[in-house]
């Protein structure tokens, strides 16, 4: 930035009281209609989750984790549970593995539906916000039927799951999936084929695979560059049931800019993610085996853990979510729990992506990366 430009520059705070900024704020330096500098600030959503985890037992821990991101509660709580299972050496019954996988994919669908709506509201079409949210209600109903809660589900537990499927849950899940399958082509038309949507998203926030790797992006943001990077395939978790399913990692390969992705590609990618998740659930539903849902010894085994450390990871909706857990001998609480959320990287990549774009496009750049404040304030 040359000194002349700096003379005309105006500093504008986007947030924390901006209607689009829920729990975050970015300092933008604006020249005319163009942003020349973006300084994202974290800390407006901070609830000291990592410190809190040090005072919670291993069965209470997942409840803190799922409050990090309420939209993907089934996925968010899993890395911690996975780490505890690894340290305690708990076996997970087959039925629990399948149930976990189904609910994690349902959670992914519901989170992505929320994002379509949020992104559409940021782009000014409120109709497309509410239509996916109507369908999302059916998934929330399923969660309520299963666990008694719509968001804070606390479904998984070390050694299995806490709630079993019954006829009602299966019926509601099937209804939610059917409704979504029925409406998905409409949503695609409304978003991907809408000329005004294309005008706003094509060529916005373009970055390459190498950039994405350097900034630490993961999940749909990097898959939209045409690289099938997915923890579900790359690091098969034996306590989940992805090996029972025949599926491919969805990637977008845009011929206009191979190896790169813009906001439009990332929207296409998130549609593919939903289709993959529906495919996985549809294949798993007939394969649910009979048997117990939780290892009966797990409760006693996870009261106090042996000394050790473990690394639990999951492919979340927004990218790789991991928890690193270190325990001391016979302790009731972890010595240290380090959470790695996917959105810290995507939030701070705004620093590189935003300069040069117009003021109006800032929220499009932000929204296309799908960051959730809970994941960067830990």
């Amino acid at each position: 930035m040359s000194p002349d430009i700096r003379d005309e520059a105006v500093e504008m705070w986007f947030g924390p009281q901006h209607v689009s900024a829920h729990g975050w704020a970015a300092k933008l330096t604006v020249v005319g209609d163009f942003i020349v500098e973006c300084d994202p600030h974290a800390g407006y959503f901070h609830r000291s989750a990592e410190k809190v985890l040090e005072f919670r037992t291993f069965k209470q821990g997942p409840l803190v984790l799922e409050r990090m991101c309420m939209l993907e509660a089934f996925l968010a709580e899993y890395p911690y549970i996975s780490a505890v299972e690894q340290i305690a050496g708990v076996e997970v019954p087959e039925r629990a593995k399948v149930l976990r996988t189904i609910m994690m994919e349902a959670s992914r669908i519901h989170s992505l539906q929320f994002w379509w709506g949020q992104f559409s509201a940021e782009l000014g079409l409120f109709a497309m916000t509410l239509w996916p949210w109507v369908d999302r209600e059916f998934f929330l109903d399923t969660f309520e039927e299963l666990t008694g809660s719509r968001h804070a589900v606390s479904f998984s537990t070390p050694g299995g799951v806490r709630y079993d499927f019954n006829e009602k849950v299966l019926k509601k899940l099937d209804r939610a999936l059917q409704r979504l399958e029925q409406h998905l082509p409409k949503f695609k038309d409304m978003l991907l084929r809408s000329p005004t949507f294309r005008m706003r998203t094509k060529g916005i926030a373009l970055f390459s695979y190498e950039d994405a790797l350097r900034w630490g992006l993961s999940g749909p943001n990097i898959k939209a560059c045409g690289v099938p990077m997915d923890l579900r395939k790359d690091w098969p978790d034996l306590n989940l049931a992805y090996d029972l399913v025949d599926w491919e990692v969805p990637v977008v390969d845009n011929p206009d800019h191979p190896g790169q992705s813009d906001a439009y590609d990332r929207m296409v990618q998130r549609f593919l993610e939903v289709e993959t998740s529906i495919n996985i659930i549809r294949q798993l539903l007939p394969q649910i085996p009979e048997g117990p849902i939780v290892d009966p010894k797990a409760r006693a085994k996870t009261n106090r853990l042996p000394a050790g450390e473990a690394y639990g990871r999951v492919e979340g909706t927004r990218g790789v979510t991991t928890v690193w857990l270190k325990t001391t001998e016979k302790a009731q609480t972890p010595y240290r729990a380090k959470i790695r959320g996917p959105c810290f990287a995507s939030y701070y990549s705004l620093k590189h992506l935003v300069p040069g774009s117009t003021f109006a496009d800032f929220i499009v750049v932000f929204g296309s990366l799908d960051p959730y404040p809970g994941w960067w304030d830990r």
């Binding site: 209607v19 782009l123 000014g124 409120f126 109006a360």
Partner: protein
């Protein structure tokens, strides 16, 4: 020196001067009394004159205040707010207002009472008098052109030979007020919104006026009433379909409705130039936006859809009003089904497409008029 003073006092009759004081006071009182009576008589004369004028022109007064005038327009705006919210609700898979009154009809009154009774918070950096005056000016400027809307040939408040030009002259002041409101509100976001509003008008105004040239040319008049009266046999939308579309789109840009609502884009600039307005001032600007929507819908009916002419046998006002409702509904549907486009895209697309298209349609219509025999005879106003 002393001798001079003594000589001076000798020449003045002090006692005589004191004797004259009552007369002097009386003179002043009589003068003041006469003045007051004169002023009162003058004011009374003005009142009597105005009273007689009102009685002589009671129809005009009734028109200006009650039927196609203030009360009717305000009711129409309230209806428009309700209608917009209801249609938007249906488009967005919800029900819209339905709690207060039948089908939520009284919800708008409840909202208005709430907004008017709210505390007015004026930011520290704002210019207080401008902040208080500008929203009222905005509503005034938007309501004045309703005087020229020909609901029927009788029920029009007034008509001038240049009323079409006057309508646009009044509406041009709207973005100036928006820009000033943004400027004096003492916030960066309102300033951005104000400049966006000005830019919107800059993009839309010329296509808007050029599109309205078509009907004016065909009718051979610049009066809105005469243009609508000239369409007895043929609606101008038949000859000028593209002009109608460009007029509609530029009207939507000028109002700042959804595909072009960058001036008040909530996800980008919070509420644009209206961010810092509160209470009754916000209500005034909110009403002004809907008033513009109603005004443009009525103008479209008058310019392109034959005004009061429609189904034969129907009352003329009903003809106009039904067409008005259809146009309003179309406008609301259009504005509820697009994503917001960027400010530079608005200017680019309206200059690149709207302006040439509207000009082209006028030229083609004139050529058709010249080469199709008998068509000029159908147009009552002459070509």
């Amino acid at each position: 020196m002393n001798a001079l003073l003594l000589q001076l006092f000798d020449n003045i009759d002090i006692i005589g001067w004191l004797r004259g004081i009552p007369d002097w006071i009386h003179g002043i009182i009589v003068w003041v009394y006469t003045l007051a009576v004169g002023v009162f008589n003058w004011a009374w004369g003005v009142f009597v004159w105005a009273w007689n004028l009102a009685l002589d022109n009671w129809l005009l007064l009734f028109k200006a205040i009650v039927f196609p005038g203030l009360v009717f327009v305000l009711m129409l705006i309230i209806f428009d707010v309700w209608f917009t919210r209801k249609v938007w609700g249906r488009v967005q898979a919800r029900r819209g207002p339905f709690h207060i009154g039948k089908y939520g009809g009284l919800q708008i009154f409840a909202d208005a009472i709430k907004l008017i009774s709210k505390e007015i918070i004026i930011p520290r950096g704002a210019k207080r008098w401008m902040y208080r005056l500008l929203p009222s000016f905005l509503l005034l400027v938007v309501l004045t052109p309703f005087a020229f809307v020909p609901w029927t040939s009788e029920w029009v408040i007034t008509d001038l030979s240049v009323s079409l030009v006057l309508v646009f002259a009044f509406l041009t002041a709207v973005p100036v007020i928006s820009l000033l409101t943004g400027w004096i509100s003492g916030s960066k976001y309102t300033l951005v919104g104000g400049f966006r509003a000005a830019s919107n008008q800059f993009a839309a105004e010329i296509p808007l006026i050029v599109s309205s040239v078509g009907p004016a040319l065909l009718a051979g008049s610049l009066s809105v009433l005469q243009i609508s009266q000239a369409q007895t046999h043929l609606w101008y939308v038949v000859l000028l379909p593209v002009c109608f579309v460009t007029f509609l789109v530029s009207a939507v840009i000028s109002i700042g409705l959804v595909p072009f609502d960058a001036p008040v884009a909530d996800s980008e600039v919070i509420f644009g130039w209206r961010t810092e307005l509160s209470g009754v001032y916000f209500t005034l600007t909110y009403f002004a936006e809907f008033a513009k929507q109603v005004l443009y819908s009525a103008l479209i009916v008058a310019l392109f859809f034959g005004g009061e002419y429609g189904v034969p046998g129907f009352p003329p006002f009903l003809n106009f009003f039904l067409k008005f409702l259809v146009v309003l509904f179309g406008m609301i549907i259009v504005t509820s089904s697009f994503y917001r486009i960027r400010q530079d895209q608005i200017v680019k697309y309206s200059w690149r497409y709207l302006l040439p298209l509207s000009m082209l349609n006028i030229i083609v219509a004139l050529l058709v008029l010249a080469y199709v025999p008998g068509l000029a005879g159908i147009l009552a106003g002459g070509g």
